[in-house]
């Protein structure tokens, strides 16, 4: 709330400065705030635009000229990706392990978060904080142990291997987010349900989960995003059968050099799922970033 309240005030400051001398205002009809916002958006969107721009060009145009929009519009790059199994299997692999990861994360984090929000036990606060410290370690730290472990138990190059590895980062975050949302539900609702005769599983699914639906959505979103963009572990733990799209993209240097146009198209297609998910949880995302503690 405070962020949105400050933003218009901060943006209007330069505007007020130009208003002060009446002569200057006539000469400068463009408000300072508009300039700032425009510059901000341009810099923010420029790389994305350039990616889109490239994906619709031929390699010749990309390499030989500087054009602000495609002169020789082509969808061949996209066609390549959607027809070549080497490309689209990367998307399928990524989607499979990301989905598995989201499901495991929620199934594990929901009961854990409920326990943290409702019960007191020895060391609960320390355990809760320790969970978050898991997120502080860079994935690179875990690449080696995971690689060795999964190789020895024949999990190497499977979807479940990547999904489980990502749980190390996603479960603690999901527990934190869900705990915040659950704390907002009065304990009396639980008790009323028990008094009414609900068993715990039935209460949890029928009454409790609808109450924290937005929290579940936000937790799923964060799990999805991390797993979708994470490159190091997913590349280390896979070779062929479960090779993620991000790995496919970074390994595409053929004999004819780098295929710029196809790479750009792959990049655009990689952004799409994330953008879609963000669209669906946009109303809850701020609360999610505050870990439900708004």
């Amino acid at each position: 709330m405070t962020d949105t309240a400050q933003a218009p005030g901060a943006a209007s400051l330069p505007g007020r400065a130009t208003e002060a001398p009446a002569v200057a205002r006539r000469k400068l009809p463009i408000k300072g705030s508009v300039v700032v916002m425009t510059l901000y958006l341009v810099f923010l969107l420029l790389p994305i635009y350039w990616l889109l721009n490239m994906s619709l060009k031929t390699n010749t145009e990309i390499l030989n000229s500087f054009t602000l929009w495609p002169r020789d519009l082509t969808f061949a790059n996209y066609a390549t990706i959607l027809t070549d199994p080497a490309w689209y299997s990367g998307y399928i692999n990524s989607l499979i392990y990301v989905s598995i990861n989201v499901v495991i994360t929620l199934v594990v984090a929901l009961p854990a978060a409920y326990a943290f929000s409702r019960y007191h036990f020895m060391g609960d606060k320390h355990l809760f904080f320790w969970l978050l410290t898991n997120r502080m370690a860079p994935p690179a730290v875990f690449a080696l142990p995971f690689f060795q472990l999964y190789s020895s138990v024949n999990l190497f190059d499977t979807h479940i291997a990547v999904a489980l590895a990502h749980c190390l980062f996603n479960v603690p975050l999901a527990v934190w987010i869900l705990e915040g949302f659950m704390r907002g539900v009065p304990k009396e609702i639980d008790e009323t349900a028990y008094i009414d005769g609900y068993s715990f599983p039935r209460f949890f699914v029928k009454i409790f989960m609808p109450l924290i639906a937005s929290g579940i959505g936000v937790a799923a979103f964060f799990a999805f995003m991390f797993s979708w963009v994470e490159l190091l572990l997913s590349r280390t733990l896979t070779s062929v059968d479960a090779k993620p799209i991000a790995a496919t993209m970074t390994r595409t240097v053929g004999a004819a050099g780098i295929d710029w146009g196809v790479l750009a198209a792959a990049g655009v297609l990689t952004i799409v799922p994330g953008a879609l998910v963000i669209y669906f949880v946009r109303n809850y995302i701020a609360k999610g970033f505050a870990l439900g503690r708004v």
């Binding site: 009065p186 609702i189 009323t192 028990y194 008094i195 009414d196 609808p210």
Partner: protein
């Protein structure tokens, strides 16, 4: 039907919430738990419901030990001070939910829900979600849910405390009528003596985790067994005066004296605590043998037709409830009068020695 608590005690983290308590509630009675905040009303109620398990002692339901039984298997209904409903369900589903879990048929459920909704004047709102209702309607929805369950034990934990004044009056009048037909045991927690008196039935006064007295409400009000009960069951709290009876004189404060009149003249010599309710303190001498005190006026509060006077009587705070609006000077010495027939006499230990004469007569 009966609920019996036998030597039930509860402590949490070394803090005693409920001292060993014996209490027997019988079918078709309204039982009021009266006590100030954190006196143990809710703790006691949670033990009755089975939400908490006592550290020692047993709970019997119809003579059967149900101490460790899950709350789902207890057949109780409870309404909280906060308006607790299931926000994701409609009002209809909220009211129907306990019956559905009992496995009743759809027609039975429908009939019961509509009847309860009618009683609680919720019929037009059955399709809405609880959070779209006003506070009073939300609480009525919770009450309706407790009602349809037809539970043997219905626990109401300050159900009206968060409602506005008008709604409270309305619901308070309705509740005893609605629940009387059901024939269940009702337990109603409140902080307000007035509410306890209006609800009637039995009252258990609580003070710091102890039930100080349990009995029919009017008789507990008129004859409290000790000073603590009298203090709990009086709003504003009862005024006290340490007195020493010596012959036909009452000595108090630093050297003041008053003749022992009325019932007080029959007391044996010794030290006592005299207690009297704020509405018995008067600014004029209405009866011939009234005792006269001089007290300093500290604060006055005018509530429309009545005046609360806060007095300082030699270091003791007294409150008087005077009829009519009075224009009094703060800080001035004020003569106040007390009919000896309105004085309760407690021993130094707090036990009642002699109830007020007016209470005996009533």
């Amino acid at each position: 039907m009966s609920l019996e608590l036998r030597q039930v005690a509860k402590s949490v983290d070394g803090q005693t919430h409920i001292h060993p308590t014996d209490l027997t509630l019988t079918a078709g009675t309204m039982n009021v738990l009266l006590g100030p905040t954190s006196s143990g009303k809710t703790s006691l109620m949670r033990l009755m419901a089975g939400l908490d398990v006592p550290n020692s002692g047993q709970v019997f339901w119809n003579g059967e030990d149900v101490t460790g039984l899950r709350v789902q298997d207890r057949g109780v209904a409870m309404v909280y001070q906060q308006f607790i409903n299931y926000p994701s369900m409609t009002v209809y589903d909220n009211i129907a939910s306990p019956m559905r879990l009992l496995g009743k048929t759809a027609s039975e459920i429908d009939a019961a829900v509509r009847k309860a909704a009618d009683l609680m004047q919720l019929s037009p709102m059955l399709d809405r979600k609880p959070l779209e209702l006003s506070g009073g309607q939300q609480q009525r929805c919770a009450l309706a849910r407790a009602l349809v369950k037809d539970a043997g034990l219905v626990l109401l934990d300050e159900p009206l405390a968060n409602l506005d004044y008008k709604l409270r009056e309305e619901l308070r009048a309705e509740i005893p009528n609605i629940f009387q037909e059901a024939g269940s045991i009702f337990v109603y927690a409140t902080t307000e003596p007035e509410e306890a008196l209006l609800l009637g039935g039995n009252v258990a006064t609580l003070w710091e985790g102890r039930v100080t007295q349990f009995g029919p409400t009017p008789s507990v009000y008129r004859k409290p067994v000790d000073a603590t009960t009298a203090r709990v069951f009086s709003d504003p709290p009862m005024n006290f005066l340490d007195i020493r009876k010596s012959g036909d004189r009452l000595l108090f404060g630093d050297g003041q004296a008053a003749p022992a009149t009325g019932a007080l003249s029959a007391l044996a010599d010794g030290t006592y605590r005299a207690g009297f309710r704020p509405n018995h303190l008067e600014l004029a001498k209405h009866v011939a043998d009234a005792m006269e005190f001089t007290a300093t006026l500290a604060v006055t509060e005018i509530t429309g037709s009545e005046t609360f006077v806060h007095l300082d009587h030699h270091g003791q705070r007294w409150v008087g409830l005077i009829h009519g609006v009075r224009d009094l000077t703060l800080g001035a010495d004020l003569p106040v009068y007390l009919d000896p027939a309105h004085v309760y006499v407690f021993a130094e230990s707090g036990a009642l020695v002699a109830p007020a004469a007016y209470a005996e007569a009533a």
